[in-house]
Amino acid sequence: MLNFTLRRVFNGIVMMVAVSFLAYFLLYIGAGNVARLILGLEATPEQINELNEQLGLNRPFIEQFLTWLSGAVRLDFGASWSMPETVNEVLFPRLGVTLTIVALTTLVAAIIAIVLGTLAAIHGGFVDRIVQFLGLIGFAVPGFLVAFFLVTLFAIQIPIFNAVGYTDFSENPSEWAKSITLPVAALALSALAAVAQQVRGSVTDAINMDYVRTLRARGLSFNRVVYKHVLRNAGGPALSILGVQFVGMLGGSVLVEQIFAIPGLGPYAVSSTAVSDIPAVMGLVVVTALVVIVVNLIIDLLSAALNPKVRLS
């Protein structure tokens, strides 16, 4: 298990460096006249030169990348081009918000999906139809549409939850709950649908496995076999879908945060994109990729804990 963990961690680190290099290369090469972008207003050629000098944009590309990388490993993404704050100052508080939302959504979606998916696989009928329907709607209706309808209904028509903004949990737990409920609901739907379908499928598969019959032939009740053996074996595929959904949710949160005006990564990504704030965009890409890689690592480790065979592969 230790060996497995170390291998995966090493793999993750290599992947991070590769992602960073790729992103850096494409973004900085593509960005064009950076100094002009930053100085905007009435920049003179002298000012532009000076800024290029200052930002090191006239140094060789590899040197620039290594400088950036040496900062990035200390989680320092440098100065933003569009805001007075450094990229870190803006990025990390926002990362916290987005991660809170996405993690909570993952948790909510996972719990509901496991319950619904299992019931659908075992009992079929009504619950199964609900899961099928959810699967369809959750997959097909874009999250931002769901978000908008939720706001209209539950924040404006019936003002139960907050329509906009975000309050930290530490600041005011009930406000936090009110601010986070609708975004989480909007985001959760599609993940919930996908995971529930996967759980339904893998529980159905697992329940038809030979060892289920054998265990029952040894006198274990159906429920016991389902809750102990079937769910554990069905857990692996469900987990990996959850991982995929997590990545999707990170993206989906961009739109949902925009609609709920939540100070997460989403609005930062949109505004940085609009003004081509390359350091910010770079930081965003790297940090979200890091989150994805870490989450995948966690999922790998969980899968390995669930299924000993994985540890060998």
Binding site: G40, M83, P84, T273
Partner: protein, 498 residues
């Protein structure tokens, strides 16, 4: 359905009640406002007015302040006076005021600030271009001017008079850690740069009587719908809203403070030389004639505005109602003007589009209307950062914009008309206008109106611009007191919100 709603509301409210008990009341009296743009820098010498005014007014005091109607009032300067030639301004600085870093505010500090505001390349720099030298004289600050500047006091009540702690001037950290003497202190820990700016009360503020709230939160809503939802749901008490949401917000019980600050329309930027057909006055006149201003106002902004052909605001002495009859919509007339021009077969002009702000509908209208008179629009899509810089860099022949129409005519002239004015990007000149402006600077107050009228006549006749209408600005609010729209600014100044 109704009972279901009620039931759901009760159920969920009950579920949340536990949390509410512990959470409520902690906030005290907080003023929550929504802004549509985030600040670029919070340093005093980078202060901006317009939509970003609050971020600076929260932390910094200004030498002068402006009432809702534009009347200048004492700020950090308790008295002000010009010499006879209008070339020397003396300000008396308030005593007993301290910056939040504990240092005292005095004449020397003000001098440093004015110099920084002029020299640090900030948005205010242009407004202090006329200031030759600044010196402290005891409790007074004396500004020596290159030439008379009829708008200077106005500038000082805007951002040019912003005063921050001298220790902070020139520091990079000033951009995110402002230190002033104003009513509030920025709470950096709770602030989410770009989204939410949280302020706590300055315990040593000199003018506590005028500060009605213990805390201030300014949230950024770049999205119209988010702003509307925030207002509707009561998340904020006030914010600038677009014309398309005015009706729904009124229906939701919000009040509006409405003014006519901006003029929306097409602005030209290649009138000089001959590289573009915009340099032909008849083409410019034709463009002016090619829009049904009333219909545009109705369709684009729900009719919230006043049709006009002139850029001077109604508050200006140069404004003439009669001009608004000029350039009545007629495609035939516009075609005739085109025929008269050097481009009888039409021409192509380059214009930027900035859909994130203006929406894309208006651009399709411009393209269609100009197409009808043979002017082909080559659109270049802008999404943000480079929009203004490309305009200033002279990349385009014309552009859609809504410009603030300063009540102060001198300010306007220096903003749009004079050679070297910020938005006279190709330094276009007409001899008559140049002479009239020179006259105006020297003229007595009595003679100024006539000169302004003459200038306006030239501008309108020669179609310097193509304004469509004065756009109504709408500050929607609920639960706070706003006397009226702010003269000369799109949102009420922070100290005027009660």
């Amino acid at each position: 359905m109704k009972s279901f709603k009620a039931l759901a509301a009760v159920a969920i409210a009950a579920a949340l009640a536990m949390g509410s008990v512990t959470g409520a009341g902690a906030a005290g009296k907080t003023l929550s406002l929504g802004a549509i743009a985030k600040p670029v820098s919070l340093a005093a010498d980078q202060a901006e007015y317009g939509n970003r005014a609050w971020f600076y007014q929260a932390v910094y005091d200004s030498l002068l302040v402006k009432a809702e109607d534009g009347t200048l009032k004492a700020g950090l300067a308790t008295k002000w006076s010009y010499n006879a030639l209008q070339t020397q301004l003396t300000l008396t600085i308030r005593t007993g005021v301290k910056f939040t870093d504990g240092t005292a505010l005095n004449a020397a500090a003000v001098v440093k600030n004015i110099i920084a505001n002029r020299d640090k390349n900030g948005p205010t720099a242009n407004y202090l271009a006329s200031v030759k030298q600044v010196v402290a004289d005891g409790n007074n600050v004396i500004l020596g001017l290159k030439a008379a500047d009829p708008a200077l006091l106005d500038y000082l009540a805007n951002t040019a008079g912003t005063v921050g702690a001298p220790s902070n001037i020139g520091k990079a950290s000033a951009a995110t850690s402002p230190i002033g003497s104003g009513p509030y202190i920025l709470d950096k820990a709770k602030t989410r740069a770009g989204s939410k700016y949280v302020y706590t009360a300055n315990p040593n503020y000199w003018n506590k009587a005028n500060r009605k709230y213990d805390a201030l939160v300014i949230s950024i809503y770049e999205d119209t719908t988010a702003m509307t939802n925030a207002l509707k749901s009561g998340a904020i008490q006030g914010g600038n809203v677009t014309t398309t949401t005015v009706n729904t917000l009124k229906a939701a019980g919000l009040k509006m403070a409405s003014g006519y600050v901006d003029a929306k329309g097409i602005y030209f930027s290649s009138r000089s030389g001959s590289k573009s057909c915009i340099s032909d006055v008849n083409v410019r006149r034709a463009i002016n004639t090619a829009f049904d201003r009333a219909a545009m106002l109705q369709s684009l902004d729900n009719g919230f505005g006043k049709v006009t052909t002139q850029y001077f605001s109604t508050a200006s002495k140069g404004y003439d109602t009669a001009f608004d009859k000029k350039y009545a919509y007629s495609i035939d007339a516009a075609k005739a003007l085109m025929a008269k021009s050097s481009f009888p077969n039409g021409c192509t002009i380059t214009m930027p589009t900035f859909a994130p702000y203006f929406g894309e509908a208006v651009y399709s209208i411009i393209k269609a209307q100009l197409g009808k008179i043979g002017v082909t629009v080559k659109e270049i899509e802008e999404t943000g950062g480079t929009f203004i810089s490309n305009i200033l860099g002279g990349k385009y022949d014309a552009y859609l914009m809504q410009f603030e129409r300063a009540g102060n005519s001198w300010q306007f002239l220096n903003f749009m008309i004079t050679k070297g004015a910020t938005f006279n990007t190709d330094n276009y000149e007409e001899a008559t206008v140049t002479k009239l402006i020179a006259d105006f600077a020297k003229a007595s107050a009595a003679k100024q109106p006539a000169i302004l009228k003459a200038i306006n006549t030239e501008l309108v006749n020669n179609a310097w611009f193509c304004p469509w209408y004065a756009l109504q600005s709408n500050f929607a609010y609920k639960g706070i007191v706003v006397k009226s729209a702010q003269a000369g600014n799109i949102i009420p100044f922070l100290y005027n919100i009660k």
